[in-house]
Symmetry: C2
Subunit: 229 residues, 2 copies
Protein backbone atom coordinates (compact mmCIF):
# COMPACT_ATOMS: atom_id res chain seq x y z
CA UNK A 1 0.00 0.00 0.00
CA UNK A 2 1.13 3.60 -0.51
CA UNK A 3 1.27 5.17 2.93
CA UNK A 4 2.19 8.65 4.03
CA UNK A 5 3.54 9.37 7.49
CA UNK A 6 3.19 12.96 8.61
CA UNK A 7 5.94 13.96 11.02
CA UNK A 8 9.72 13.63 11.04
CA UNK A 9 10.28 13.07 14.78
CA UNK A 10 11.00 9.82 16.59
CA UNK A 11 7.50 8.46 16.06
CA UNK A 12 7.30 9.39 12.39
CA UNK A 13 10.71 7.88 11.72
CA UNK A 14 9.94 4.65 13.54
CA UNK A 15 6.57 4.16 11.85
CA UNK A 16 7.81 5.11 8.37
CA UNK A 17 10.84 2.82 8.52
CA UNK A 18 8.81 -0.10 9.82
CA UNK A 19 6.04 0.32 7.22
CA UNK A 20 8.69 0.23 4.48
CA UNK A 21 10.31 -2.79 6.12
CA UNK A 22 7.07 -4.77 5.99
CA UNK A 23 6.61 -3.93 2.31
CA UNK A 24 4.75 -0.65 1.93
CA UNK A 25 5.68 2.36 -0.20
CA UNK A 26 6.14 5.24 2.18
CA UNK A 27 6.33 9.01 1.88
CA UNK A 28 7.24 11.04 4.97
CA UNK A 29 5.50 14.41 5.18
CA UNK A 30 7.03 17.57 6.60
CA UNK A 31 6.16 21.25 6.68
CA UNK A 32 9.08 22.29 4.50
CA UNK A 33 11.26 19.74 2.72
CA UNK A 34 14.23 22.05 2.30
CA UNK A 35 14.16 23.18 5.93
CA UNK A 36 13.91 19.60 7.17
CA UNK A 37 16.82 18.49 5.00
CA UNK A 38 18.90 21.55 5.93
CA UNK A 39 18.94 20.78 9.67
CA UNK A 40 22.37 19.69 10.82
CA UNK A 41 21.91 19.50 14.59
CA UNK A 42 20.40 16.67 16.65
CA UNK A 43 16.91 17.49 17.96
CA UNK A 44 16.08 18.22 21.60
CA UNK A 45 15.91 14.48 22.32
CA UNK A 46 19.34 13.85 20.84
CA UNK A 47 18.11 12.22 17.65
CA UNK A 48 20.28 12.71 14.56
CA UNK A 49 19.15 15.31 12.02
CA UNK A 50 16.53 14.02 9.59
CA UNK A 51 18.82 14.08 6.54
CA UNK A 52 21.28 11.79 8.32
CA UNK A 53 18.51 9.42 9.26
CA UNK A 54 16.99 9.49 5.76
CA UNK A 55 20.32 8.56 4.19
CA UNK A 56 20.02 5.24 6.00
CA UNK A 57 16.50 4.70 4.61
CA UNK A 58 16.92 5.38 0.88
CA UNK A 59 13.56 3.89 -0.12
CA UNK A 60 11.60 6.53 1.77
CA UNK A 61 10.32 9.67 0.06
CA UNK A 62 10.29 13.06 1.79
CA UNK A 63 7.48 15.36 0.68
CA UNK A 64 5.48 18.33 1.89
CA UNK A 65 2.49 17.49 4.06
CA UNK A 66 0.21 18.09 1.06
CA UNK A 67 2.19 16.01 -1.41
CA UNK A 68 2.66 13.21 1.09
CA UNK A 69 -1.05 13.14 1.94
CA UNK A 70 -1.89 13.10 -1.78
CA UNK A 71 0.51 10.19 -2.29
CA UNK A 72 -0.81 7.98 0.51
CA UNK A 73 -3.79 5.67 0.21
CA UNK A 74 -3.57 5.70 3.99
CA UNK A 75 -2.20 8.55 6.11
CA UNK A 76 -0.53 8.34 9.52
CA UNK A 77 -0.51 11.42 11.74
CA UNK A 78 2.74 11.16 13.68
CA UNK A 79 3.15 14.84 14.43
CA UNK A 80 3.19 16.18 17.98
CA UNK A 81 -0.31 16.81 19.29
CA UNK A 82 0.20 20.55 19.49
CA UNK A 83 1.34 20.60 15.84
CA UNK A 84 -1.36 18.26 14.55
CA UNK A 85 -4.06 20.75 13.52
CA UNK A 86 -1.64 22.85 11.45
CA UNK A 87 -0.05 19.77 9.88
CA UNK A 88 -3.38 18.31 8.83
CA UNK A 89 -4.58 21.64 7.46
CA UNK A 90 -1.39 21.79 5.42
CA UNK A 91 -2.02 18.20 4.28
CA UNK A 92 -5.41 19.36 3.08
CA UNK A 93 -8.91 18.04 3.62
CA UNK A 94 -9.18 16.97 -0.03
CA UNK A 95 -6.07 14.82 0.29
CA UNK A 96 -7.47 13.12 3.40
CA UNK A 97 -11.05 12.61 2.21
CA UNK A 98 -12.13 8.99 2.15
CA UNK A 99 -8.77 7.79 3.47
CA UNK A 100 -7.93 5.99 6.66
CA UNK A 101 -6.21 8.52 8.92
CA UNK A 102 -4.25 6.76 11.65
CA UNK A 103 -3.78 9.12 14.57
CA UNK A 104 -0.91 8.14 16.86
CA UNK A 105 -0.40 11.59 18.38
CA UNK A 106 -0.88 12.78 21.93
CA UNK A 107 -2.16 16.12 23.14
CA UNK A 108 0.82 16.87 25.33
CA UNK A 109 1.92 20.39 26.13
CA UNK A 110 5.68 20.59 26.73
CA UNK A 111 5.65 24.39 26.89
CA UNK A 112 6.08 24.33 30.67
CA UNK A 113 8.75 21.63 30.64
CA UNK A 114 8.72 18.01 31.67
CA UNK A 115 6.46 16.26 32.49
CA UNK A 116 4.14 17.81 29.92
CA UNK A 117 0.52 18.48 30.75
CA UNK A 118 -2.38 16.99 28.86
CA UNK A 119 -4.47 19.33 26.73
CA UNK A 120 -7.59 17.16 26.71
CA UNK A 121 -9.82 15.60 29.36
CA UNK A 122 -12.55 13.03 29.12
CA UNK A 123 -14.95 15.46 27.53
CA UNK A 124 -12.98 15.33 24.28
CA UNK A 125 -9.86 13.96 22.63
CA UNK A 126 -7.38 15.04 20.02
CA UNK A 127 -8.62 12.25 17.74
CA UNK A 128 -12.19 13.54 17.92
CA UNK A 129 -11.01 17.08 17.26
CA UNK A 130 -9.29 15.81 14.12
CA UNK A 131 -12.38 13.85 13.07
CA UNK A 132 -14.60 16.91 13.55
CA UNK A 133 -12.31 19.11 11.48
CA UNK A 134 -11.84 16.46 8.75
CA UNK A 135 -15.19 14.67 8.67
CA UNK A 136 -14.40 12.81 5.44
CA UNK A 137 -11.24 11.23 6.88
CA UNK A 138 -11.73 7.84 8.51
CA UNK A 139 -9.86 8.45 11.76
CA UNK A 140 -8.52 5.52 13.77
CA UNK A 141 -6.70 6.16 17.03
CA UNK A 142 -3.98 3.68 17.90
CA UNK A 143 -0.34 3.26 19.04
CA UNK A 144 -0.41 6.39 21.22
CA UNK A 145 0.10 4.47 24.46
CA UNK A 146 3.69 3.29 24.09
CA UNK A 147 7.19 4.35 23.06
CA UNK A 148 8.01 4.67 19.35
CA UNK A 149 10.24 1.61 19.30
CA UNK A 150 7.66 -0.54 21.08
CA UNK A 151 4.98 0.68 18.63
CA UNK A 152 6.70 -0.93 15.68
CA UNK A 153 8.64 -3.71 17.41
CA UNK A 154 6.27 -5.15 20.02
CA UNK A 155 8.33 -8.34 20.05
CA UNK A 156 11.18 -6.34 21.63
CA UNK A 157 9.30 -6.40 24.94
CA UNK A 158 8.09 -9.42 26.90
CA UNK A 159 7.97 -11.56 23.78
CA UNK A 160 5.28 -9.27 22.37
CA UNK A 161 2.80 -10.30 25.06
CA UNK A 162 1.20 -6.89 25.67
CA UNK A 163 -1.62 -4.76 24.33
CA UNK A 164 -2.40 -2.09 21.75
CA UNK A 165 -5.76 -0.32 21.49
CA UNK A 166 -7.76 0.87 18.49
CA UNK A 167 -10.74 3.23 18.46
CA UNK A 168 -12.68 4.68 15.56
CA UNK A 169 -16.09 5.17 14.01
CA UNK A 170 -15.44 3.23 10.77
CA UNK A 171 -15.26 -0.55 11.16
CA UNK A 172 -13.54 -1.13 7.81
CA UNK A 173 -10.93 1.51 8.60
CA UNK A 174 -10.24 -0.18 11.94
CA UNK A 175 -9.87 -3.55 10.20
CA UNK A 176 -7.28 -2.04 7.86
CA UNK A 177 -5.37 -0.63 10.81
CA UNK A 178 -5.52 -3.89 12.75
CA UNK A 179 -3.97 -5.59 9.72
CA UNK A 180 -1.10 -3.07 9.73
CA UNK A 181 -0.63 -3.60 13.47
CA UNK A 182 -0.39 -7.34 12.89
CA UNK A 183 2.28 -6.70 10.27
CA UNK A 184 4.21 -4.84 12.96
CA UNK A 185 3.93 -7.94 15.16
CA UNK A 186 1.02 -7.08 17.42
CA UNK A 187 -1.02 -10.03 18.66
CA UNK A 188 -3.26 -8.43 21.29
CA UNK A 189 -5.27 -5.61 19.67
CA UNK A 190 -8.29 -4.46 21.69
CA UNK A 191 -11.02 -2.59 19.83
CA UNK A 192 -12.37 -0.09 22.35
CA UNK A 193 -15.26 1.02 20.16
CA UNK A 194 -15.99 4.39 18.60
CA UNK A 195 -13.55 7.27 18.43
CA UNK A 196 -14.64 8.77 21.75
CA UNK A 197 -12.70 5.90 23.36
CA UNK A 198 -9.59 7.82 22.31
CA UNK A 199 -10.25 9.94 25.40
CA UNK A 200 -9.29 6.92 27.46
CA UNK A 201 -6.10 6.10 25.62
CA UNK A 202 -4.98 9.74 25.43
CA UNK A 203 -5.56 10.12 29.18
CA UNK A 204 -3.22 7.25 29.93
CA UNK A 205 -0.25 9.47 29.09
CA UNK A 206 0.16 11.02 32.56
CA UNK A 207 0.50 7.51 34.03
CA UNK A 208 2.80 6.51 31.19
CA UNK A 209 5.07 9.48 31.91
CA UNK A 210 5.20 8.67 35.63
CA UNK A 211 6.03 5.07 34.83
CA UNK A 212 8.86 6.19 32.56
CA UNK A 213 10.27 8.04 35.55
CA UNK A 214 9.71 5.20 38.01
CA UNK A 215 11.14 2.53 35.69
CA UNK A 216 13.99 4.65 34.39
CA UNK A 217 13.09 4.52 30.70
CA UNK A 218 10.41 4.04 28.05
CA UNK A 219 10.88 0.29 27.41
CA UNK A 220 7.56 -0.87 28.84
CA UNK A 221 3.95 -1.25 27.85
CA UNK A 222 0.57 -2.14 29.31
CA UNK A 223 -0.85 -5.62 28.97
CA UNK A 224 -4.52 -6.03 29.71
CA UNK A 225 -4.67 -9.23 31.74
CA UNK A 226 -8.12 -10.83 31.47
CA UNK A 227 -9.92 -13.56 33.34
CA UNK A 228 -9.60 -16.78 31.39
CA UNK A 229 -12.55 -19.01 30.55
Amino acid sequence: MRISVLGTGMVGRAVAARLAEVGHDVAVGTRGVDATMARREPDAMGNPPFATWLAGHPHLLLETFANAARYGELVVNATEGTATPAALRAAGADNLAGKVLVDVSNALDFSRGFPPSLLVNDEDSLAEQVQREFPQARVVKTLNTMNAHVMVHPESLGGGDHTVFVAGNDAAAKATVVSLLQQFGWHDVIDLGDLSAARGTEMILPLWLRLMGALGGPAFNFKVVRATG
Copy 2:
Protein backbone atom coordinates in the same frame (compact mmCIF):
# COMPACT_ATOMS: atom_id res chain seq x y z
CA MET B 1 -3.46 -3.75 63.09
CA ARG B 2 -6.69 -1.86 63.82
CA ILE B 3 -7.94 -0.58 60.49
CA SER B 4 -11.00 1.45 59.57
CA VAL B 5 -12.56 1.30 56.14
CA LEU B 6 -14.74 4.27 55.28
CA GLY B 7 -17.51 3.32 52.87
CA THR B 8 -20.09 0.53 52.73
CA GLY B 9 -20.22 -0.01 48.95
CA MET B 10 -18.62 -2.77 46.90
CA VAL B 11 -15.09 -1.45 47.43
CA GLY B 12 -15.49 -0.88 51.16
CA ARG B 13 -16.96 -4.34 51.67
CA ALA B 14 -14.28 -6.09 49.63
CA VAL B 15 -11.41 -4.29 51.38
CA ALA B 16 -12.88 -4.65 54.88
CA ALA B 17 -13.59 -8.37 54.50
CA ARG B 18 -10.16 -9.07 53.08
CA LEU B 19 -8.32 -7.07 55.75
CA ALA B 20 -10.16 -9.10 58.41
CA GLU B 21 -9.37 -12.31 56.53
CA VAL B 22 -5.63 -11.60 56.62
CA GLY B 23 -5.80 -10.94 60.36
CA HIS B 24 -6.58 -7.29 61.01
CA ASP B 25 -9.24 -5.83 63.29
CA VAL B 26 -11.56 -3.85 61.09
CA ALA B 27 -14.24 -1.22 61.64
CA VAL B 28 -16.34 -0.12 58.68
CA GLY B 29 -17.33 3.55 58.74
CA THR B 30 -20.61 4.95 57.48
CA ARG B 31 -22.45 8.25 57.68
CA GLY B 32 -25.26 6.90 59.86
CA VAL B 33 -25.10 3.44 61.39
CA ASP B 34 -28.86 3.12 61.90
CA ALA B 35 -29.66 4.22 58.35
CA THR B 36 -27.08 1.85 56.88
CA MET B 37 -28.44 -1.08 58.91
CA ALA B 38 -32.07 -0.18 58.13
CA ARG B 39 -31.69 -0.51 54.34
CA ARG B 40 -33.52 -3.54 53.06
CA GLU B 41 -33.15 -3.13 49.27
CA PRO B 42 -30.19 -4.07 47.07
CA ASP B 43 -28.21 -1.04 45.91
CA ALA B 44 -28.17 0.28 42.32
CA MET B 45 -25.53 -2.30 41.38
CA GLY B 46 -27.63 -5.18 42.76
CA ASN B 47 -25.51 -5.74 45.85
CA PRO B 48 -27.36 -7.04 48.91
CA PRO B 49 -28.19 -4.52 51.64
CA PHE B 50 -25.34 -3.87 54.04
CA ALA B 51 -27.00 -5.57 57.02
CA THR B 52 -27.33 -8.79 55.03
CA TRP B 53 -23.72 -8.61 54.00
CA LEU B 54 -22.54 -7.76 57.53
CA ALA B 55 -24.35 -10.79 58.95
CA GLY B 56 -21.94 -12.92 56.92
CA HIS B 57 -18.94 -11.04 58.37
CA PRO B 58 -19.62 -11.05 62.11
CA HIS B 59 -16.10 -9.98 63.10
CA LEU B 60 -16.47 -6.58 61.45
CA LEU B 61 -17.58 -3.53 63.38
CA LEU B 62 -19.88 -0.89 61.91
CA GLU B 63 -19.31 2.62 63.23
CA THR B 64 -19.86 6.22 62.27
CA PHE B 65 -17.14 7.76 60.13
CA ALA B 66 -15.78 9.53 63.22
CA ASN B 67 -15.79 6.50 65.49
CA ALA B 68 -14.31 4.29 62.80
CA ALA B 69 -11.55 6.79 62.03
CA ARG B 70 -10.80 7.09 65.76
CA TYR B 71 -10.59 3.28 66.03
CA GLY B 72 -8.23 2.73 63.13
CA GLU B 73 -4.47 3.00 63.35
CA LEU B 74 -4.73 3.13 59.55
CA VAL B 75 -7.73 4.45 57.62
CA VAL B 76 -8.90 3.41 54.15
CA ASN B 77 -11.05 5.80 52.15
CA ALA B 78 -13.32 3.56 50.10
CA THR B 79 -16.12 6.06 49.60
CA GLU B 80 -17.13 7.25 46.14
CA GLY B 81 -15.02 10.17 44.95
CA THR B 82 -17.91 12.60 45.00
CA ALA B 83 -18.69 11.60 48.62
CA THR B 84 -15.08 11.61 49.81
CA PRO B 85 -14.73 15.21 51.07
CA ALA B 86 -17.88 14.99 53.22
CA ALA B 87 -16.95 11.53 54.53
CA LEU B 88 -13.47 12.62 55.58
CA ARG B 89 -14.79 15.80 57.20
CA ALA B 90 -17.19 13.63 59.16
CA ALA B 91 -14.30 11.32 60.08
CA GLY B 92 -12.53 14.38 61.44
CA ALA B 93 -9.05 15.80 60.91
CA ASP B 94 -8.06 14.94 64.48
CA ASN B 95 -8.92 11.29 63.93
CA LEU B 96 -6.82 11.17 60.76
CA ALA B 97 -3.80 13.12 61.99
CA GLY B 98 -0.56 11.19 61.84
CA LYS B 99 -2.27 8.13 60.37
CA VAL B 100 -1.77 6.44 57.05
CA LEU B 101 -4.81 7.30 54.92
CA VAL B 102 -5.14 4.87 52.02
CA ASP B 103 -7.15 6.50 49.25
CA VAL B 104 -8.67 3.99 46.84
CA SER B 105 -11.41 6.29 45.54
CA ASN B 106 -11.94 7.74 42.08
CA ALA B 107 -13.26 11.14 41.14
CA LEU B 108 -16.03 9.84 38.91
CA ASP B 109 -19.23 11.75 38.34
CA PHE B 110 -22.15 9.40 37.66
CA SER B 111 -24.70 12.22 37.76
CA ARG B 112 -25.09 12.16 33.98
CA GLY B 113 -25.25 8.37 33.74
CA PHE B 114 -22.82 5.77 32.48
CA PRO B 115 -20.00 6.06 31.59
CA PRO B 116 -19.25 8.59 34.32
CA SER B 117 -17.05 11.58 33.64
CA LEU B 118 -13.84 12.31 35.49
CA LEU B 119 -13.81 15.29 37.84
CA VAL B 120 -10.05 15.78 37.78
CA ASN B 121 -7.43 16.32 35.09
CA ASP B 122 -3.67 16.24 35.22
CA GLU B 123 -3.48 19.56 37.05
CA ASP B 124 -4.75 17.90 40.22
CA SER B 125 -6.11 14.67 41.69
CA LEU B 126 -8.60 13.63 44.30
CA ALA B 127 -5.76 12.27 46.42
CA GLU B 128 -3.98 15.63 46.41
CA GLN B 129 -7.22 17.40 47.29
CA VAL B 130 -7.55 15.08 50.29
CA GLN B 131 -3.93 15.65 51.27
CA ARG B 132 -4.35 19.43 51.07
CA GLU B 133 -7.46 19.39 53.23
CA PHE B 134 -5.96 16.93 55.75
CA PRO B 135 -2.28 17.86 55.80
CA GLN B 136 -1.55 15.73 58.87
CA ALA B 137 -2.86 12.55 57.26
CA ARG B 138 -0.26 10.48 55.41
CA VAL B 139 -2.13 9.91 52.17
CA VAL B 140 -1.21 6.97 49.94
CA LYS B 141 -3.05 6.43 46.67
CA THR B 142 -3.44 2.83 45.57
CA LEU B 143 -5.88 0.15 44.33
CA ASN B 144 -7.99 2.65 42.37
CA THR B 145 -7.14 1.11 38.99
CA MET B 146 -9.00 -2.20 39.18
CA ASN B 147 -12.27 -3.82 40.18
CA ALA B 148 -13.01 -4.38 43.90
CA HIS B 149 -12.59 -8.15 43.68
CA VAL B 150 -9.28 -7.87 41.83
CA MET B 151 -8.07 -5.35 44.42
CA VAL B 152 -8.18 -7.88 47.22
CA HIS B 153 -7.80 -11.13 45.25
CA PRO B 154 -5.16 -10.42 42.62
CA GLU B 155 -4.54 -14.15 42.34
CA SER B 156 -8.01 -14.48 40.81
CA LEU B 157 -6.68 -13.04 37.55
CA GLY B 158 -3.80 -14.33 35.43
CA GLY B 159 -2.19 -16.04 38.41
CA GLY B 160 -1.71 -12.63 40.03
CA ASP B 161 0.75 -11.53 37.35
CA HIS B 162 -0.36 -7.92 37.00
CA THR B 163 0.34 -4.55 38.55
CA VAL B 164 -0.81 -2.22 41.32
CA PHE B 165 0.49 1.32 41.77
CA VAL B 166 1.24 3.35 44.90
CA ALA B 167 1.85 7.08 45.18
CA GLY B 168 2.41 9.25 48.22
CA ASN B 169 4.62 11.82 49.88
CA ASP B 170 5.53 9.73 52.95
CA ALA B 171 7.93 6.84 52.31
CA ALA B 172 7.13 5.03 55.58
CA ALA B 173 3.40 5.27 54.88
CA LYS B 174 3.96 3.80 51.44
CA ALA B 175 5.98 0.95 52.92
CA THR B 176 3.10 0.16 55.31
CA VAL B 177 0.68 0.12 52.40
CA VAL B 178 2.93 -2.05 50.26
CA SER B 179 3.00 -4.54 53.12
CA LEU B 180 -0.82 -4.64 53.20
CA LEU B 181 -0.90 -5.09 49.43
CA GLN B 182 1.45 -8.03 49.76
CA GLN B 183 -0.90 -9.52 52.35
CA PHE B 184 -3.65 -9.28 49.73
CA GLY B 185 -1.42 -11.24 47.35
CA TRP B 186 0.09 -8.49 45.22
CA HIS B 187 3.56 -9.21 43.84
CA ASP B 188 4.09 -6.35 41.38
CA VAL B 189 3.72 -3.03 43.23
CA ILE B 190 5.13 -0.02 41.37
CA ASP B 191 5.95 3.07 43.42
CA LEU B 192 5.20 6.00 41.10
CA GLY B 193 6.64 8.60 43.45
CA ASP B 194 4.96 11.48 45.24
CA LEU B 195 1.23 11.96 45.53
CA SER B 196 0.95 14.00 42.36
CA ALA B 197 1.40 10.69 40.51
CA ALA B 198 -2.17 9.94 41.60
CA ARG B 199 -3.17 12.17 38.68
CA GLY B 200 -1.91 9.43 36.40
CA THR B 201 -3.68 6.55 38.11
CA GLU B 202 -6.94 8.48 38.50
CA MET B 203 -6.86 9.39 34.80
CA ILE B 204 -6.68 5.74 33.80
CA LEU B 205 -10.36 5.34 34.71
CA PRO B 206 -11.81 6.44 31.35
CA LEU B 207 -9.72 3.73 29.64
CA TRP B 208 -10.69 1.24 32.35
CA LEU B 209 -14.38 1.95 31.77
CA ARG B 210 -14.02 1.52 27.99
CA LEU B 211 -12.21 -1.74 28.55
CA MET B 212 -14.98 -2.97 30.80
CA GLY B 213 -17.37 -2.36 27.90
CA ALA B 214 -15.10 -3.91 25.27
CA LEU B 215 -14.30 -6.99 27.37
CA GLY B 216 -17.80 -7.43 28.74
CA GLY B 217 -16.96 -7.18 32.43
CA PRO B 218 -14.57 -5.89 35.11
CA ALA B 219 -12.40 -9.00 35.49
CA PHE B 220 -9.19 -7.54 34.07
CA ASN B 221 -6.22 -5.46 35.13
CA PHE B 222 -3.16 -3.76 33.70
CA LYS B 223 0.22 -5.40 33.84
CA VAL B 224 3.20 -3.17 33.17
CA VAL B 225 5.42 -5.31 30.93
CA ARG B 226 9.03 -4.18 31.18
CA ALA B 227 12.15 -4.88 29.21
CA THR B 228 14.12 -7.60 30.90
CA GLY B 229 17.80 -7.36 31.70
